[in-house]
Symmetry: C2
Subunit: 196 residues, 2 copies
């Protein structure tokens, strides 16, 4: 449904980002034009520039907002004293959060190459902050004798890759529900870092 430019200033920003996310996830950043995004939103191409200065900023905002929402959610969880319980919760949280956002996850991995160096550094800093949350759980578990790891940084990345991999193949209505899948992954993650 076409709308005139500026008719719904507060809602058009999110609608622009949703349209951009859908198109970029489907076709890739380089293949999507501002004109296509405008058409998807139902505004004139010129009107899009009321909401974003350029396509790079739009991509950066998508990736930044994805990471900021992830960080805000995980950092709002109440602390857990037991490192095993904290890691179990992290694994289930990570899978659930990412399965709810397949397009954002896809873009977060695939479009890093298309960020300017400055924007890339900013996104990398947010990713490192998220990794550091998991690393803190692992470090605490090692200090308390619950976990044993060959290398903290590698274990952190191995766990995140393992968990994020679920988004490549999981489909609701498949043979296993997402809670069952998340429970299996949490069990595997705990074994991966368990002290002997």
């Amino acid at each position: 449904m076409a709308r005139t430019a500026g008719s719904h200033a507060e809602t058009t920003g999110p609608r622009v980002r949703e349209a951009a996310q859908r198109l970029i996830a489907r076709h890739g950043y380089a293949a999507v034009s501002m004109r296509q995004i405008a058409a998807e939103v139902g505004v004139q191409a010129g009107a899009l520039y009321l909401y974003t200065p350029d396509k790079q900023t739009l991509l950066y905002d998508l990736m930044r907002l994805h990471m900021e929402e992830l960080l805000a959610t995980v950092e709002a969880l109440p602390p857990l004293d037991d490192p095993r319980a904290a890691l179990d919760r992290f694994a289930r949280f990570h899978i659930g959060h990412h399965l709810d956002r397949p397009e954002a996850v896809f873009i977060a991995y695939m479009e890093l190459r298309n960020l300017t160096p400055e924007n890339f550094a900013a996104i990398e800093a947010l990713r490192r902050r998220y990794e550091e949350g998991l690393a803190a759980i692992l470090r605490d578990g090692v200090a308390r004798g619950a976990f044993a790891l060959p290398d903290l940084r590698l274990a952190t990345r191995a766990i995140i890759a393992m968990l994020t991999g679920v988004t490549h193949w999981f489909r609701d209505m498949g043979p296993m529900g997402r809670d069952e899948v998340a429970a299996c992954y949490a069990e595997m993650v705990l074994k991966t870092v368990a002290a002997p």
Copy 2:
């Protein structure tokens, strides 16, 4: 260096695929034209059609050859009787093979969405065959009491995702060499599936 069409029939096919792989990994399938690929190879756009009927076939060939080379290499390894030794070797092989082919790995994950349904099914069948090789190691280890898993299919995918994740961040000349990284990952994979 420009070459005239058809001047090196046996070598132009691989050069077309190399150019296509480089451009698609950089810009994405949808953003790359046959004209750009021809320019990268140094032939006329029309000459490209001597080597491939269309861009879809070129993408499919890249992904199919990547999977066929992976399968030929892993299936040529001499059998190992000990499931722990077989899994350790699989982990190190998978990391080394994929680190040597970052563009092909990136395309293998990112461009699945751009395959026709028929080509997608063919690539999926090759991927399932590769997964089955790992599943056979895990199944054997479970039967012999060396491994314990919550779910064979999930463990297979979790391990492949964990190992492939190295390609997202590993750079030669970083603080750890690839053999050291592969050894750490092999240790974590073995723990992930170890019997209690």
